[in-house]
Amino acid sequence: MEKENLTMREMDIPLGPDRSKLLGSRAAEVDIIEGDHMILNMGPQHPSTHGVLRFELLTDGEVVVKITPHIGYLHRCFEKIAESIPYNQVIPYTDRLDYLASMNNNLGFALAVEKIMGIEVNERVQTIRVIMAELNRIASHLVSFGTYALDTGAFTPFLYAFRERERIVDLFEDVCGARLLYNYIWIGGLSHDLPPGWVEKCRDFCDYFLPNIDEYNNLYSFNQIFIDRSADIGVMTAKQAIAYGATGPNVRGSGLAWDLRKTEPYSGYENYDFDVCIGTGEKGTVGDCWDRYMVRIREMEQSTRIIRQALDRLPEGDVKEAIPKNFRKIPEGEVYMRTEAPRGELGYYVVSDGKQIPYRVKCRSNCFTSLSAIPEIGVGAMIADIVSILGSIDIVLGEVDR
């Protein structure tokens, strides 16, 4: 059990063919006997793939020798569509990337365009955005917790997770009228102000939610059967995580305190007091499935902390004052804006050529990069472990395929 608390700079990541050195030592453990292998298709309709993802597994008995993910079943041309419609109409499309964290997707795109247009939003808008992003982070981690439990063979936690998520979704519905695809954070502001009484409701939710995290831990996190299924499995070292560009809870699970809310604060995150949770290898090795899972559980606690602080300081203001009347005069320029979505770094690269519609929009997907690490960290695992690894990486196929 060796802890790796390295910063990005201290680490030298070999490129090119040297990357093969990074291949986990577990690959060597597998005694590959030619001709004794079998190809197994997992997906695209497999219940554990969280959408439509197909794995082509080369197996040697129960042991997986090679993994080839096949993606693209949900491709919807987000980037191309974004190049054909005005800036404000792109926001509903960003909802549909990672549909479990629409608020965070809205936020990233709105911030990118605001950077191009030089719009400054007021304190109230920033604070509400932080509240929404954190609420959505909790909701997204709850789904991740519930579905990971489903993947590893427990049904009940899923119901608990959705019970709480329902309350968050109700809060969102009160604010913007939608339960899944919010289109709430607009360029330069918000689509609606908070309705009366919402702040109290949100406080109630925080009070109600925190004790439930202990319930999850008792119910599932420290269950020995679950620990056996997740600890020491799918170990992703910090080096591997960086080499593959894994971000969010996946890289933090590997023991690296990399959180854009801390390292490159946006939307006023520098004013909040919260901890970055990292994997500690409590139950096995640093960077195993259990660590990634536990980072999410602990992050929900931190998010609640942020929400409480934000609710306390919520200033007055007009949430629509900076929304541009039209999108005809956009300055030329390009910008890359990255934010910490629940699943990692969500980046938008927007190029403007001065016209009403973007010249180019590129979305840096966090699930896609995390998924690319699976062929490496999954080699040498059992078939059933692949399900566990995939669940712990926590991908949303809508975001992988865009």
């Binding site: 319930e215 119910l219 420290f222 020995q224 059967i225």
Partner: protein, 199 residues
Amino acid sequence: MRTALKENYFKQIWKGISTTLIGMSVTIGHLFKPSVTLQYPHERWPMPEGARLRIQMDFDECTGCGACARACPVDAIIIEVLKAQAGVDLGETSNGTKKRLHVLKFDVDNAKCIYCGLCIPPCPTGAIHFDLDYEAMKLTRKELIYHFSIMTSDEVETLREADREAKAKAAAAKAQAAAEKAKAAESAPKKPNQSDSSS
């Protein structure tokens, strides 16, 4: 390989059973708490004020400006308008905006609509809005296209006919004016000559 398996065998069994029992006690505790689910068709939860459920519109309020259709990212709103003839008064909307266009067609394709709500703020009269009915399922896609225009096809035809006539009249008048102008132009060169000679 797994550290867990290296530990004592019976300790492992005990840990498995005891942690499962802790989990079960959590679940059993919920037997004595009120249920959180609703029996949907019999019970319903109230919809909040601003719920975005289905596009509706007050046809009388619409001026046919087309702002909503331009704001829609998926082109779910299709509007056809016809300019009112001079002297025809179409009335006003409730907030006093004068109507100048016949709205021949106002279709919202609910199968296309993504319920984003972008069409609501641009409307100058508040004609288009969401309603709170969420049971809008239909058997075919065609039924999902809502036709909000109250004009019958006969009325539309009459209006079109009148418009065509008016246009033809206008064109004729224009042609006549053009012809007169040409005539005037023909006779015009003489005038300067005359004026020249006279001066």
